[in-house]
Assembly symmetry: D2
Homo-oligomer: 413 residues x 4
Amino acid sequence: MDAAARSRIADPSLAATGEQKIQWVAKHSPVLNRLARTRLSDGALRGRRVAVVVHLEAKTAYLALLLAEAGAQVVAAGSNPGSTQDAICAALVARGVEVHASHDASREQFDADLLAVADTEPELVVDDGAELTARILEHRPELAARLAGVTEETTTGVARLRAMDAAGKLSFPAIAANDARCKHLFDNRYGTGQSTLAAIDRLTNLNFAGREFCIVGYGWVGKGLARYAGGQGGRVTVVEIEPVAALEAHMDGHRVARLEDALPDADVVIAATGATDAVPADAIPLLKDGVLLANGGHHERELAIDALGSGEEVRPGVNEHAIPGGGRAYVLVDGRQTNVAGGDGHPVEIMDLSFSVQALAVHLLAGGGLAPGLHLFPAELDAEIARTKLATLGIELGEPTQKQREFSERWNV
Amino acid sequence: MDAAARSRIADPSLAATGEQKIQWVAKHSPVLNRLARTRLSDGALRGRRVAVVVHLEAKTAYLALLLAEAGAQVVAAGSNPGSTQDAICAALVARGVEVHASHDASREQFDADLLAVADTEPELVVDDGAELTARILEHRPELAARLAGVTEETTTGVARLRAMDAAGKLSFPAIAANDARCKHLFDNRYGTGQSTLAAIDRLTNLNFAGREFCIVGYGWVGKGLARYAGGQGGRVTVVEIEPVAALEAHMDGHRVARLEDALPDADVVIAATGATDAVPADAIPLLKDGVLLANGGHHERELAIDALGSGEEVRPGVNEHAIPGGGRAYVLVDGRQTNVAGGDGHPVEIMDLSFSVQALAVHLLAGGGLAPGLHLFPAELDAEIARTKLATLGIELGEPTQKQREFSERWNV
Amino acid sequence: MDAAARSRIADPSLAATGEQKIQWVAKHSPVLNRLARTRLSDGALRGRRVAVVVHLEAKTAYLALLLAEAGAQVVAAGSNPGSTQDAICAALVARGVEVHASHDASREQFDADLLAVADTEPELVVDDGAELTARILEHRPELAARLAGVTEETTTGVARLRAMDAAGKLSFPAIAANDARCKHLFDNRYGTGQSTLAAIDRLTNLNFAGREFCIVGYGWVGKGLARYAGGQGGRVTVVEIEPVAALEAHMDGHRVARLEDALPDADVVIAATGATDAVPADAIPLLKDGVLLANGGHHERELAIDALGSGEEVRPGVNEHAIPGGGRAYVLVDGRQTNVAGGDGHPVEIMDLSFSVQALAVHLLAGGGLAPGLHLFPAELDAEIARTKLATLGIELGEPTQKQREFSERWNV
Amino acid sequence: MDAAARSRIADPSLAATGEQKIQWVAKHSPVLNRLARTRLSDGALRGRRVAVVVHLEAKTAYLALLLAEAGAQVVAAGSNPGSTQDAICAALVARGVEVHASHDASREQFDADLLAVADTEPELVVDDGAELTARILEHRPELAARLAGVTEETTTGVARLRAMDAAGKLSFPAIAANDARCKHLFDNRYGTGQSTLAAIDRLTNLNFAGREFCIVGYGWVGKGLARYAGGQGGRVTVVEIEPVAALEAHMDGHRVARLEDALPDADVVIAATGATDAVPADAIPLLKDGVLLANGGHHERELAIDALGSGEEVRPGVNEHAIPGGGRAYVLVDGRQTNVAGGDGHPVEIMDLSFSVQALAVHLLAGGGLAPGLHLFPAELDAEIARTKLATLGIELGEPTQKQREFSERWNV
């Protein structure tokens, strides 16, 4: 049975459009292209069943195709129906990859798609938000035993894996790809920063200079959002409950305030906690008339948009809702992750780095030998990715001198 | 004969889509909305024939509608076929405004449309790039005598009006709306900066952090582009031939170089001279493999893209061309103004300021009394627009104290 | 009678210390050094009596010496006793320049010094704050007739000259050197910005990151202060009563507020209006406990420090005062211009540009031919200074192509 | 025998000057002041012998005094003779603290001073660069057994402690205070950034806007230097051999190059590796004429200034040297840490955080119970310091909701 027959996608006729986008990604992914030759081609992935459950747009598709080229049997699904691009799904199927996803699938359909992926009995999982891993543990616990490993893309997912570990559920090795420096330093911070602000521009055509941005959460994503908002003339208030991160936001020149003090002034609110209820229901009435509500995190549950009045579309991707007590709020892409649901997601070259981490993480897991539990991505692979990236940019690095090497081992004066 | 019969547009059925965009603009144009009540409604525009020839998207449409509400008979056309949005044209016609424009009209059709506008014998012209004024002087010189005045939106157009004045052609008053502080400080600088970078993100999905931007021209537009590129992690090289502006670019922290020294390193080239040949044909072979070519100025003639090999679309709005001598260049929206042809143009609130200048300039010209020739926009109207904007933001200004007032008139110690 | 006999300075024995500082300036003034050879050496200044009344530190001394080398008879005094460096005065006298100045001279002594300069009957005046010009007009009106011209360094002084002009007092030509682009773009903005913040650091050893700066006035000086405070992690509130400048501050990402709303939150207040009473007596009780009060403008009268309780020195250059109603304020260098009274003033290379304007302005006035009244500095000289500076940096500029030249003269399509 | 008799300092008569500086610090150290009451006063430090070997300026003195107030017997010495302020030493002695230090002591004297401190047989050491700890291990190994613990201030010192640990020398617990978030995030980054740039301004009076800065090392210190140089208009090239840090510098918008490619363009070189030979002897001939050489790291050995010709003082703290092969280099404060040897060191409020870490670390070590070896500073103490700082700023933090708390423990969907 061929890929098309095994897949559930919306519209196979969109393949050419999707293929064009994937080709663009291929041209701008020098690190993955190089690692595909130098690392992935050694046969370790040959015949292995790999599930890729990440926002299904062109960069994810390119990762899936490279894994397939390296010999893996790849099955793909999206990590959120709002970010799935039907043209990309079609192109993947046309290239022989099994896909279970469609744009704006219902919650039930989305669950069914992920379980369909689970039922292909993957050995290796590239996960986002631990969406597939959590479903396997919950609904297909018998399959967990067959997992050779999971590698996880997001802060949210790593937190979930940690909770699984604490609950004694991690019977397989998992790699916190998110915590690789070549991932979170660039993807969470600059990737989300650039693409989220650009998506807000695209969705609203509104001005940033002089606007009050309220960034909820000052982890890597929040830091990036604050930087790109400030870099475009916005004034930033950070809401953060962890004291050192809050102090860092203060020293970075942002106003730091509690949510209830920040919201009444905010023109744009972006949730970036990676958790739940960044803007909970009881804070909704504090919103300012005309506010834009955007989500920079994994879950649409960061924003309690149900506490608003019902919405009406006033621009594509922008719904106007009444704020209880007065005024109107504009919710972007139904509270889904703004950059992937309201644009093409992170910049290609950023994902080239992130997916290089994922590719090497899958490759490492395929090699076996890691104990069950949560693992860091090896520092030497992180360095290799950075070195490869710099080489493709034509940037050469120096070497430590003999004297420096000796010095680093000296303890005396 | 109704507006529809007098108009030439592409597709009247798009009116609802266009109307939705115009409604969004109406909600985010507090200054124009207030001035419409306090200034435009005095009858001065009643029955006057006004031509609006500016990029035909939602903000321009809203200006046209406010002028019509104030009693003017408005005829509209675009200032560049690449930026005309057919849905906006349809919405305008549905609201009773005569329109002569369609997206991607041929050069001949575009000329014909502007002459059709000229043939409605406008008394007042809101022009962009002096596109209509120049055609009236050249092809309908007899109509110039009937002009009560022209107000001009762009640096390019003001330069042309200045050349007209030098050539003794300005038999009517013209207002350099572009040179109003409430226009160029915000529109040329921040409006172009934000929207051009966001459009490049949208068109290419490529990364800005660490990329080399070459900005050609360091006027208000170039300054804004440099700031927004730098604010998003780009490194900027400025090409500028005027020495003081070049020195300012240097002091602003940018590398300053001649075009031939800058191009070989540039990942993104943005033309912003407002003139012609910012990147001339003989510089084309110097381009770096993979370069993006974007236009931030009025004319597509800023970039000599004809000197590239023939193009093939690789993403919507992105054509790949061979660079003579080697490598590929990616030309955005055929070298047209990136933000209007590849997006929705300047942010709404920025155009609220720019079009407030235009609205008060038309109103002033309608009142008569200005001598033929080029005029500055009156400083007190500029201040009124800024004061109105600040008031809508809830920002109060202080007053000079008696002592300060006296001090400013003192010449002795 | 030699220079020493004609001079009034504090301590001739400091000459070597002063000379060392002047030599440092000489090494870092490439533009003045080049113009001294190419422009000033033509004999136009030979035998002319030139008064230089500018903050008497090393850069001013170097200008005075170059004018003397070009043949002028130079007499120097400071424009504020707080900024006069006694070692510099000593070095100038040792080099044969007549000087009337000492650090922290009383107000009476300062006036007497300036009148002593007036009594040398200068033909040409390089003035700062119009301090000498105003005294000549007021106390030595008969000498005004002999003035061949005045060139003025500051925004404050140009305003005063404008008031003199309005009062019909300008019987001689005056050049608004401050308004030259090579002066205010760099000196007022970046020179004041860098050196004022560095002086505050030096005087207080306090932290900028996360502190609330209140900048009163958003002219070129205020813009620079805001930029350098923001560039070091400060949060900036701008107080400005001119609406367009206030709107620009808002769009630049600063909070804009009335003085009375800004002061209660401010950790550092910097006055930059160039006028009087930037922080008037009735605003003093609003100051926050622990606030630093600094002056970025010409007059110590920008800050009404008399409304504070009496001061006690708690660090060199820092006086602690009680705030009426509660708390303590720290006044820097008695409310004098922070960077010159609390440091070495503007960076050398910045003054190399400013004093190149002054040198060419004096040279132009010496040539005669300008009508009485206030004049702009000629644009071609401005361009020449910038071109010279760029050349010393090794930066080459391109030339407009033939096609561009023609285009700029075209008015038709 | 009283403190004066046991001490070796330069000039006891300077005590009043030093005391004034310490009082200023006391006023601007809200976190230490609060922790002194809430934490240090519990008797744990009573009678304990504590050595404080950190740059001997006012902030260090205040830490020493608070420890003494808490009951400790404190002996102090400097961590570098170039940064010792004689007035501070005098003030400490006047307050009863034993001190062994003088400004610009010879290398032999410096060693003798540290051994004199060692010979007081301290139980607890607050060290900087592990200068005392290394000397105890090397020259007084018998005393190591009596050490209850060491807490270390710098990246350099932590690296040395790690080497000691690897060499099996750590027979006592040591706390890497440097690695506390409340220390390196603010002190290494913003403290060094602000104060080093301000010290360069003060020492040279030269301009930053448009200058090429070469920052060698992109750890926390290098990141801060790059940020503050860029924030003041400088252009930054980063030299870094660790690939991920180099890539981060690139993405942060800096040019990244090898040392030999960076030096020929650099106007200002700042070493920040924390190790040795950041600019080694063989790179010295590559320096540009007129370059400033500054050190942002612990050791003067970061800059191989011996490879330059002999120096002559041209401004206080600035020596001019011939560059072999041509040109002149200006070395700041003999290659010592620029901000402490050429200014008053880090901003007071920054050291309030760093020394709060040190105070709590000493207090923790005094309590006993830590195993021998290198320890991290406990996260809950880090959070307490940040919370205290935020409280003194009037910034309140929110609490996680019940729903958020539960969510963070959930692993399923």
